[in-house]
């Protein structure tokens, strides 16, 4: 079942959390709502769930308009950011809740709870209370509880937000595998672009209550629709300059520009698209920028090299470890940077 969000508006006082948002959540896929805090992503998730009533617009599940349907009749599983487990109930009672309020037969409830406990790998902890569990275990209980009534849609608000890095990585992989088994239409909210790129089938990038871009991770990453998306997906360097027809000039650096129009331009260059090499005689042409190494930050198999250029200020290159060794990079080394590829966004020239 797909979800269609049409022209949804939601304001909190003067503040427009959602501004005419329209998007389709594809059926059976895992979609990430990605954006910085205050971008409206959680509000959109809550509007889809029916926890928050929109000021305008409609929400459709398949062909059914659910805009005015109360939350309990929508058949959504919702995993809250801080889990919202029932403190006074055991793990098994938490998971059984959604079935017992529907007067399901006890034997049936037992079987379903056992099945779900096994699925979330918590079979031994059925009679524990939430306070006796770790963060990752609570998260899995919350997920099992949301899945118990067999929802047609699973919504997760910052599902891994409150966990430490290792547990996060583990649960990400686990959520992906679970989704591949269930093929349940799922939406999760995150501010972590790596999480979205790694786990999701679809990414919806949001900013200031609007949707910037929606698409597959590769598409969003390779062909960002706006400077915001490019910037938010991370690790970019920004160069200021001008576009002139088929090329754009950034100081000494000239880059090809395939778009149309002239005017102030910004080049967004990812860290891995800045190539460091030793300077050779005859450098100083169109494509190479002389730089001095300021700092090297090792991050496992790649390193971030902060370099300083007279013209462009600080730049950060992402360099594989073996290249770092070959180049013999250290503080103060003089190198040359080449731009392998860049996205150029031109501000429309104002009528003079």
């Amino acid at each position: 079942m797909d979800v269609q969000v049409e022209q949804i508006c939601k304001a909190f006082g003067e503040y427009a959390a959602l501004d005419h948002v329209s998007v389709t959540i594809p059926s059976g896929q895992l979609t990430a709502l990605l954006g910085p805090s205050g971008s409206g992503k959680t509000t959109l998730l809550r509007v889809i769930a029916g926890i928050e009533a929109p000021d305008g617009g409609r929400v459709k599940f398949g062909s059914t308009d659910v805009t005015n349907l109360p939350v309990r009749s929508r058949g959504v599983g919702f995993v809250f950011q801080d889990y919202a487990l029932f403190d006074h109930m055991t793990v098994a009672e938490n998971i059984a809740f959604g079935l017992s309020v529907r007067k399901t037969a006890p034997a049936q409830i037992d079987a379903r709870v056992r099945d779900l406990l096994a699925r979330v790998q918590l079979s031994g902890l059925a009679s524990r209370y939430p306070k006796q569990l770790s963060g990752g275990q609570r998260q899995r209980v919350a997920l099992a509880r949301a899945l118990a009534p067999d929802p047609q849609l699973l919504l997760l608000d910052e599902p891994f937000g409150a966990l430490d890095a290792r547990v996060r990585a583990e649960l990400r992989g686990w959520l992906r595998r679970l989704h591949d088994e269930l093929h349940l239409t799922s939406v999760f909210v995150t501010h972590d672009q790596e999480e979205a790129l790694e786990v999701a089938d679809q990414i919806v990038v949001m900013s200031s209550g609007k949707i910037e871009q929606a698409g597959a991770p590769d598409e969003v990453f390779e062909r960002p629709a706006s400077a915001f998306v490019m910037d938010f997906l991370g690790g970019v360097n920004v160069l200021e300059g001008h576009a002139r027809g088929d090329h754009a000039v950034f100081g000494d650096l000239v880059l090809p520009y395939t778009g149309s129009g002239t005017g102030r331009a910004r080049a967004y260059v990812r860290g891995e698209d800045l190539v460091l090499r030793q300077p050779v005689a005859g450098d100083g042409g169109d494509a190479a920028v002389p730089v001095t190494v300021e700092r090297v930050r090792r991050r496992g198999i790649t390193a971030r090299v902060l370099v300083h250029s007279e013209e462009h200020g600080e730049l950060t290159a992402e360099v594989p470890h073996h290249e770092l060794v070959e180049l013999g990079v250290e503080r103060g080394t003089k190198l040359v940077v080449e731009v392998r590829s860049a996205r150029i966004f031109v501000e429309r020239e104002r009528a003079a």
Partner: protein, 280 residues
């Protein structure tokens, strides 16, 4: 981080000794000594005299009335406290500030004034008095006024316990219950109420203690009719004024017993609630 240091341990030993002695001395003079005096006076003429005083018909009537007033006022204020705390913490509505202020009013107003208020309202020359007596309803100087006055002075206790508990918890668990398909009533019974059981019990106990011990407001509206409109505290006063000291103190021990029971129940609840917090 620097290790947390107990502030007590930095005081010199003699300061500690002085403070502890002062605190314990104060307790001895103002609490233990009077308590001992009451018990001594109550049992001074022997167990038989004590039992006779406690089982005397007017005393029994006073106990019955006190329990009746508390038995109505406490559940009433539990309901009111739940509704008010829920409304205040979960909704925005005009008059919310006023409601919070009104809940605290009985704390601010002297109980005697509260009693006068009901005389002005329901008394023979009061606002509603003539109409009520025209319909054969007697409130002031009768049991209804005692119940009403008791309920009034105990309004804040339950709500004041529940508001911070609800604020601390936020609405997520209720929302979770709704997404899982629970009706609002199921959500209230199975999620909200069980989560509030300790603060609710705590509030109810404080409420009961105050209801049983209330003197000022009840004294104004009761009319002091022996065997009819006397509560335990009023009965103690009457006996005392009649120079029946032993009987007065004997009845007073009932109030002491209730106070002790309240303290024990209160500690048990604090221990329970504290244990829940520690294992968090």
């Amino acid at each position: 981080m620097t290790p947390a240091r107990s502030p007590v341990s930095v005081e010199p030993a003699w300061v500690r000794a002085v403070l502890i002695t002062a605190a314990l001395g104060f307790l001895a003079v103002f609490l233990v000594l009077p308590l001992g005096a009451v018990l001594h006076a109550a049992f001074g003429k022997g167990i038989a005299a004590y039992l006779a005083a406690v089982s005397e018909p007017d005393t029994r009537a006073a106990i019955k009335l006190t329990l009746l007033a508390a038995g109505i006022a406490v559940p009433l204020n539990m309901l009111f406290g739940l509704a008010a705390a829920w409304a205040i913490t979960r909704f925005h509505f005009p008059g919310k500030r006023v409601l919070i202020t009104i809940i605290d009013l009985p704390f601010a107003v002297s109980p005697v004034i509260a009693g006068m208020l009901f005389i002005l309202l329901f008394g023979a020359h009061g606002l509603l008095g003539p109409w009520l007596s025209g319909h054969g309803v007697k409130i002031v100087f009768a049991v209804p006024a005692i119940v009403i006055a008791t309920a009034f002075v105990t309004i804040p206790f339950v709500a004041r316990e529940l508001i911070p508990a609800l604020e601390a918890r936020g609405p997520e668990q209720e929302l979770a219950a709704l997404t899982l398909g629970a009706t609002p009533w199921q959500t209230f019974c199975r999620v909200t109420l069980p989560n509030l059981r300790w603060p609710l019990a705590y509030g109810a106990i404080l409420c009961t203690a105050r209801a049983v011990g209330e003197f000022g407001a009840v004294s104004v509206v009761s009319g002091h009719i022996r065997g009819e409109t006397n509560t335990i505290p009023l009965h103690v006063e009457i006996l005392y004024n009649d120079f029946q000291y032993q009987a007065a103190f004997a009845v007073a021990t009932i109030l002491i017993g209730i106070a002790l029971a309240t303290l024990i129940a209160k500690s048990l609840i604090e221990w329970h609630a504290g244990r829940g917090r520690r294992s968090h």
